[in-house]
């Protein structure tokens, strides 16, 4: 993991302090009404407070201690809920703060139509303007490089300190405002107006300012509102029953019962769960353009994976040496290494690395004694001449080396040619190595599948997600890689339109599709996919088409994104279940207590053996409030998620949050009751 | 819309004619042809006079005969006002009534010990028209009837045992005795044994 420049821990002092202040500020009914469940609690708190003052005024101190404590805990319930939301927002706000710092006012070098430069404020730039950036300039706005190549420091947005290359044309032309040119000079065409740039968008996203409720969140909210309404009816209709028995129950107790029954736990934590879900993506360096996209990620049925970069490293690597008949494999390794010493390509480096496994260490050669022969498209080979030994070592395409050997009056080894053909057939690339007229053998180069990818794909299969590998390779090569990586399907010789076709086909079967892309070619497919993750290195068109942006430009991350989406939904479901399951115990605490004066026979229902009616009710209320605080870390962190079959995940969560939700409050309320009794505070 | 409304009215009227009129008459016709006795209410005749239905309980309160269960249908066994007592088990008034009923049964049938009063004979049936009593309730009344009528206990006990309606198909229901039938049998015996008493007790048959 790279160092996250702006990722902030939730529990630093500053955030805590702000969150506490915010929790009180949010008591404003105008803000509270957005959360109907907690709004009801607030109204309840106001009612009990009013009763408290009325009793004070009338000098009625009979149940004062009880009423005071209930009132306090009801207010705490509201404040705890606000605190949960504030603290999750606080982290986003702190992150936005860091981002804003990178947005200091920049002077742009505007290139006018007459070719002259003019220095203006970046905020004056408009879409379509052309600016010039040189070493140490801050790029004044989002744009596309139209001329030149430069290395750019994008750590301000990605947190990644290694510079990236930006060049005109192709898929690496997009630059982001606020990033810094480290070397060379580029001309950039600005593509966004001030305030609408990528960083601005990111700030409002992490800050939660543009946060909209997601479809599941809306549905869940409706469920919670309906439950609240239901319990309101349940509690209100207790009064006529009590009146039927000529009894009287204080409104304080009705409020206490209502607050205990309505789903306050999930009501308090719901928005915190949503915000921190987005936040977890930020932790992975992924910016989701909407919460909806994060949810959709959890629903994905099919993943389109580009072979190059996602499944394989994208570079061919040496995997074995195949020596000619009379040649020792060590000798071949020796020469192969020599031939590659000056070869700085990934292939060359992989040959040196493989040779090391044959006991050959890196060697120091007398520079005067050697002459490097660089690769050229004409000869299709490279190598080194060792002058004193008169050894001309060459490495290259099998055909080219064969020609070279023949030119030097050597003979071509038929068996080696066959071996080379075999390698091609398996989807690999053969390279021949020769010294003067002798062909020593073949180096087997292969597209290497990333370590652990097979396990990842297996775990995806376990959670019911199908993977499709897309590659431009021929079917043979594609199949070899597909088998090795264990993907479910693959499409070879893919054209840019292939992705679009596959997405549409899968979607017509009712499936949700996720993909990654970076090129302008990918833009339509990214837009069509339910989850389109654009690489930050990609073009502006791609970034705008996708609904997520991966700042690390690591396509493998699609898997993490899916898991984060699932975790978000699981956390919501689990805490809802927990919240509703809790009610059972609260009934057993409150019902016998509140009805004790009119129906003393209900005493056997007090199965927890709570010490007095008042302490029973107070214990339930305290438990109800405290559980919110206890669950905040879980809401922020998310329920543990390990890829498994849906039924296994469900069993686990049902046991913990369903059954646990039934049992936990029985224990919790009993303990609080014991504490209250011990302290004699009632 | 008007067309739709006409269609809706048509289906309403059509189904009314079929489901209410045609259907009821069809079943009536079948009853008329195949089950005339049942269709008329299973009413039995003695001396060509209708004496009641074997299905519907009759008010048997005289100590000379087998008494039925208390009835809350009208003044008791009123065939036009089927109803149970609807007393709740915790109703104090109900328990007071029960106390009277149980004590009365114990006094009338001194051979029965307290704690052994068959529960059905002191509780009302659901409709107040059920003719059945339990075997225990019938047997417990034998000594009393024997004493009052002079019929041997053995004869009466035999009568009871022979009259038991067992479980239907060997499984459904609880064995019991139809008091209508039981008392009709008792009447036959009494008619031979003590004509005078017979006329007094079974005035419905005597006339």
């Amino acid at each position: 993991m790279s160092n996250k420049a702006y990722y902030v821990s939730a529990f630093n002092k500053k955030i805590l302090k702000t969150a506490i202040i915010e929790s009180f500020r949010k008591l404003n009914p105008k803000a509270m009404i957005k959360n109907p469940v907690m709004f009801v609690v607030e109204i309840g708190s106001v009612i009990t407070t009013a009763i408290l003052f009325k009793n004070l005024f009338l000098h009625d101190f009979k149940y004062m201690l009880f009423i005071v404590q209930i009132t306090l805990w009801l207010w705490f319930t509201v404040i705890f809920a606000n605190f949960a939301e504030s603290i999750s927002e606080g982290r986003g706000k702190a992150q936005a703060e860091t981002l804003r710092k990178s947005k200091t006012e920049v002077i742009a070098r505007l290139l006018k139509t007459d070719g002259k430069e003019e220095k203006i404020k970046a905020s004056m730039l408009r879409k379509g303007d052309i600016v010039v950036c040189e070493t140490n300039d801050i790029i004044p706005g989002d744009g596309d490089v139209i001329e030149g190549i430069a290395s750019v420091d994008e750590s301000a947005i990605t947190g990644e300190s290694a510079p990236v290359i930006r060049e005109s044309g192709g898929d690496r032309s997009a630059v982001t405002g606020g990033t810094k040119v480290l070397s060379d000079k580029i001309t950039v065409k600005i593509t966004s107006n001030p305030g609408e740039g990528f960083i601005d968008k990111m700030i409002s996203l992490v800050e939660g300012a543009s946060r909209q409720k997601t479809p599941n969140e809306i549905a869940l909210n409706i469920l919670l509102v309906m439950f609240t309404a239901l319990f309101l009816v349940v509690v209100v209709t207790i009064e006529p029953m009590v009146a039927y028995f000529h009894g009287h129950i204080s409104p304080v107790i009705y409020v206490a019962l209502l607050v205990c029954l309505i789903p306050t736990t999930i009501g308090a934590l719901l928005s915190a769960i949503g915000i921190s879900g987005m936040d977890r993506l930020v932790k992975h360096n992924v910016i989701a353009m909407s919460g909806k996209a994060v949810e959709a990620a959890g629903d994905v049925n099919t993943l389109l994976l580009d072979k190059t970069g996602t499944i394989t490293f994208g570079n061919r690597m040496a995997v074995s040496f195949i020596p000619a008949e009379e040649v020792n494999v060590n000798e071949l390794a020796d020469y192969a290494q020599l031939s590659s010493i000056s070869d700085e390509t990934p292939e060359g480096r992989s040959i040196v690395a493989l040779a090391k496994k044959y006991g050959l260490r890196g060697r120091h050669l007398d520079e005067n004694n050697i002459k490097f022969v660089p690769f050229s498209a004409m000869t299709r080979m490279s190598g080194v001449d060792i002058l004193d030994k008169k050894e001309n070592i060459r490495k290259g395409a099998v055909e080219a080396i064969s020609n070279y050997v023949v030119q030097n009056n050597g003979a071509v080894d038929k068996k080696l040619i066959e071996a080379a053909a075999n390698i091609s057939k398996q989807g690999g690339t053969p390279l021949a190595v020769a010294v003067n007229s002798r062909m020593l053998g073949i180096i087997h180069l292969k597209d290497v599948v990333k370590g652990g990818i097979k396990e990842r794909i297996n775990s995806l299969r376990k959670i019911g997600i199908k993977t499709i590998m897309i590659t431009g390779d021929n079917p043979l090569t594609a199949k070899a890689i597909a088998d090795e990586a264990g993907v479910d399907e693959f499409v070879s010789e893919a054209t840019p339109e292939t992705k679009m076709t596959i997405i549409k086909k899968e979607q017509s079967l009712g499936k949700l599709v996720a993909m990654t892309g970076d090129g302008t070619n990918d833009a339509p497919a990214l837009a069509q996919a339910d989850v389109g993750v654009a690489m930050n290195t990609g073009t502006m068109a791609a970034k705008e088409a996708g609904n997520m942006i991966d700042l690390d430009s690591n396509p493998t991350k699609l898997i993490e994104i899916v898991e984060t989406g699932k975790q978000l939904l699981i956390t919501r479901g689990s805490l809802t279940t927990f919240s509703i399951a809790n009610d059972l115990a609260k009934y057993f605490a409150i019902i016998p207590a509140m009805f004790a004066p009119i129906m003393p026979w209900l005493a056997p229902l007090n199965i927890m053996g709570l010490s007095s009616p008042q302490s029973a009710i107070l214990s339930a209320v305290i438990f109800n409030a405290v559980i919110i605080i206890i669950l905040i870390p879980l809401a922020l962190r998310g329920v543990k998620y390990r890829p498994a079959k849906a039924s296994n995940i469900l069993t686990r969560n049902l046991l913990i949050y369903g059954l646990g939700g039934v049992i936990a409050p029985f224990i919790g309320i009993k303990l609080i009751d014991m504490l209250i009794t011990y302290l004699h505070i009632i | 819309m008007a067309k739709e409304l006409i269609r809706m009215i048509k289906i309403t009227l059509l189904l009314y004619v079929i489901c209410s009129i045609a259907y009821t008459f069809f079943i009536w016709g079948i009853g008329k042809v195949f089950f005339p006795f049942q269709a008329g209410g299973s009413i039995i005749y003695k001396n060509s006079k209708p004496i009641g239905s074997m299905l519907i309980g009759e008010k048997f309160t005289s100590p000379y005969i087998f008494n039925g269960r208390p009835s809350y249908a009208g003044n008791g066994y009123n065939g036009t006002e089927s109803s149970g007592s609807n007393y709740a088990p915790t109703n104090g008034k109900y328990i007071a009534i029960e106390k009277k009923l149980i004590d009365k049964f114990l006094i009338e049938n001194p051979t029965v010990n307290k704690g052994n009063v068959p529960v059905d004979i002191v509780t009302g049936s659901g409709s107040g028209l059920g003719p059945y009593i339990s075997i225990a309730a019938a047997l417990d009344q034998v000594p009393r009837i024997s004493k009052l009528t002079g019929i041997k206990e053995k004869t009466l006990r035999k009568l009871v045992v022979e009259d038991i309606s067992g479980r239907q198909f060997g499984i459904f229901g609880t064995p019991g005795l139809n008091t209508d039938k039981l008392n009709l049998m008792l009447a036959e015996i009494l008619k031979v044994k003590n004509k005078k008493l017979f006329k007094k007790v079974f005035s419905g048959l005597a006339g």
């Binding site: 869940l220 | 079943i27 004496i51």
Partner: protein, 574 residues
């Protein structure tokens, strides 16, 4: 509890399930418009009917049209019967010259029968002419068909995807009546007739008993009513005491047969649902959910009733069952039918929301009463015609929504995503059910009119009122009959609760079908929530119990639960 008692219960239940399996296939054929063995007999009538109605059978409707027509037809039928009852004194088959039914009672009764409730604030033999009883029979057919066709529309909403039409209501309606209810009603009416149920147009017969007592017997077209009353899970009997009146239920065999009539179609509907959606495992799981609840309910009632009333034991009655003594709580029960079958009957009539009673529920033990209430509060233990299935599926949607989130996907119900709309409608149906029970219940307890009807004192009186509203909203119709409901107050308020209790959930549910039918179907994978098997069973059962308990616990605590504990402590109420 006795061995033979348990055996009887198991036998009846088993026979019902065994009969439901083939019946479900027949039902599925009908509503998939596939050929059945009765085609030759019924097709001519059916085609004639369609021609008469000017209906093209295949012309399908959107859910709104389907619903609208269904509701208007209901209203028209309601009007017809309302008028017949109101003016029965001008109509035939009224030898006793009963006057027209007063408007409030008429309002209550007509609504009660069109909604499949059959709550009766009257004793049939005391106020209704035979012609009026026959008019009620008409509604017993059509109200059963109404519930059924809406359930069919709902199922089509699940089966079809990216579609618009849910079927043709006229076709479904006529098929339901011609192919299911009429044939079955005829068969069972004949069986009941053979067992002793009267079928005559005479209203009363006068007899002189052997003891010289004059007795008047109420008779009438009973057999024809008894069969559809139970087959249609209506429950409105010919007599005040319903199936406790021997003419409606002459012997233990007819008692078992009545239970069979009530339960077999609702159970078959669960299986039919499985066939229609092509997911039998799912339907069977729901069957086990309902069965579990049913068996628990029967067990509690049977054990409570067999245990009997401790107060009577204290007074000297023998409440222990033995060879000659039935024991148990015999108040309001028929001796020959016995405790076991009565317990089964009571549980069945509330589970299948029939409302027909063969005993006085008011006199049941407190906890038995609680179970009866609970069965109606849930209203999904197989339930009435179609409605039980709809309620079960509504609860499944709520359960699947909450638990479905826990597998990390947007919850799906049989491949259809559950969004805000479905959740709103499903929870609204659930909420409406509770609201329409509890609020009028509260009103009744706070008004003189409501309190006036209460018969039994203490917590049981509370239960009586609660039972009335629960029974009406659940469209059950059974009663804690001590409550005097034939007052303007109860006739009107119960009329309204019955009306809203029926139509609000149905409208919500058909609207859910309308929302589901438009959706794409997402194929099942290892990542989707499993909608069959033990896990699903637990989720659905848990949801039902939890929501049910949370909603009604306070009312049950102050009613039957308080009564039970008071009884245990030996406390009587005056």
């Amino acid at each position: 509890m006795t061995f033979t008692g348990i055996l009887q219960i198991i036998a009846v239940l088993l026979i019902m399930v065994l009969a439901a399996v083939p019946l479900s296939r027949y039902l599925a054929h009908i509503f998939k418009y596939e050929p059945t063995f009765l085609d030759k007999l019924i097709n001519p009538f059916e085609n004639l009917t369609f021609r008469f109605l000017n209906v093209k059978k295949e012309e399908e409707m959107t859910w709104t049209t389907y619903l609208k027509i269904g509701l208007v037809i209901n209203f028209l039928m309601l009007a017809v019967v309302f008028l017949i009852l109101r003016f029965q004194n001008y109509l035939p088959f009224n030898q006793m010259h009963y006057p027209g039914i007063p408007w409030a009672l008429d309002f209550n009764t007509a609504i009660s029968f069109i909604t499949n409730t059959n709550w009766q604030n009257y004793g049939g033999e005391e106020v209704m002419s035979n012609f009026s009883q026959m008019a009620l029979v008409f509604l017993q057919f059509t109200s059963a068909a109404t519930g059924l066709v809406f359930a069919i529309a709902f199922i089509r909403g699940i089966v079809r995807h990216e579609a618009k039409y849910v079927g043709n209501i006229y076709t479904d309606y006529i098929k339901a009546i011609y192919r299911i209810f009429i044939p079955l009603a005829v068969i069972f009416a004949i069986i009941m007739l053979s067992q002793g149920a009267p079928q005559t147009f005479t209203m009363q017969k006068k007899v002189v008993n052997i003891t010289g007592t004059k007795q008047t017997l109420s008779v009438g077209p009973v057999a024809s009513m008894v069969s559809i009353e139970n087959l249609g899970t209506n429950g409105g009997g010919f007599y005040d005491a319903n199936a406790a009146q021997p003419y409606e239920n002459p012997n233990p065999f007819t008692n078992a047969l009545t239970i069979f009539m009530m339960g077999t179609i609702p159970i078959a509907l669960f299986f039919m649902y499985g066939i229609m959606i092509d997911d039998k495992k799912h339907a069977w799981t729901l069957f086990w959910v309902a069965s579990t609840l049913l068996v628990v309910c029967i067990a509690v009632i049977y054990s409570q009733e067999a245990h009997g009333n401790p107060f009577l034991a204290h007074l000297g009655a023998n409440i222990k069952a033995s060879k000659y003594n039935p024991g148990g709580n015999m108040e309001g029960k028929q001796e020959h039918i016995g405790i076991a079958q009565t317990s089964l009957f009571a549980s069945a009539t509330t589970a299948f929301t029939t409302g027909n009673v063969d005993s006085a529920h008011d006199s049941f033990m407190p906890l038995s009463g609680m179970i009866l209430l609970a069965e109606m509060m849930l209203n999904l233990i197989f339930g009435g015609k179609g409605v039980g299935l709809l309620n079960m599926l509504t609860m499944v949607i709520i359960g699947v929504f909450i638990a479905g989130l826990m597998v990390g996907r947007t919850p799906e119900f049989l491949g259809k995503k559950i969004g805000a709309k479905e959740v709103t409608l499903a929870t609204l149906a659930m909420f409406a059910h509770a609201f329409i029970i509890l609020v009028p219940f509260g009103i009744a307890l706070s008004t003189a009119g409501g309190l006036a009807g209460i018969f039994n004192p203490g917590p049981h009186g509370l239960s009586e009122v609660l039972y009335a509203f629960t029974s009406s909203v659940a469209n059950n119709g059974s009663a804690f009959a001590g409550l005097d409901g034939n007052t303007v107050f109860y006739n009107v308020i119960l009329g309204f609760t019955i009306f809203f209790g029926r139509y609000v959930p149905i409208i919500c549910q058909v609207a859910i079908a309308g929302a589901l039918i438009k959706k794409k179907r997402i194929p099942e994978s290892a990542g989707t929530f499993p909608e069959h098997g033990f896990l699903f069973y637990s989720v659905v059962l848990g949801t039902i119990i939890l929501i049910g308990a949370l909603t009604f616990f306070p009312a049950l605590a102050l009613g039957p639960i308080a009564e039970h504990f008071a009884m245990v402590k030996g406390h009587l109420f005056y």
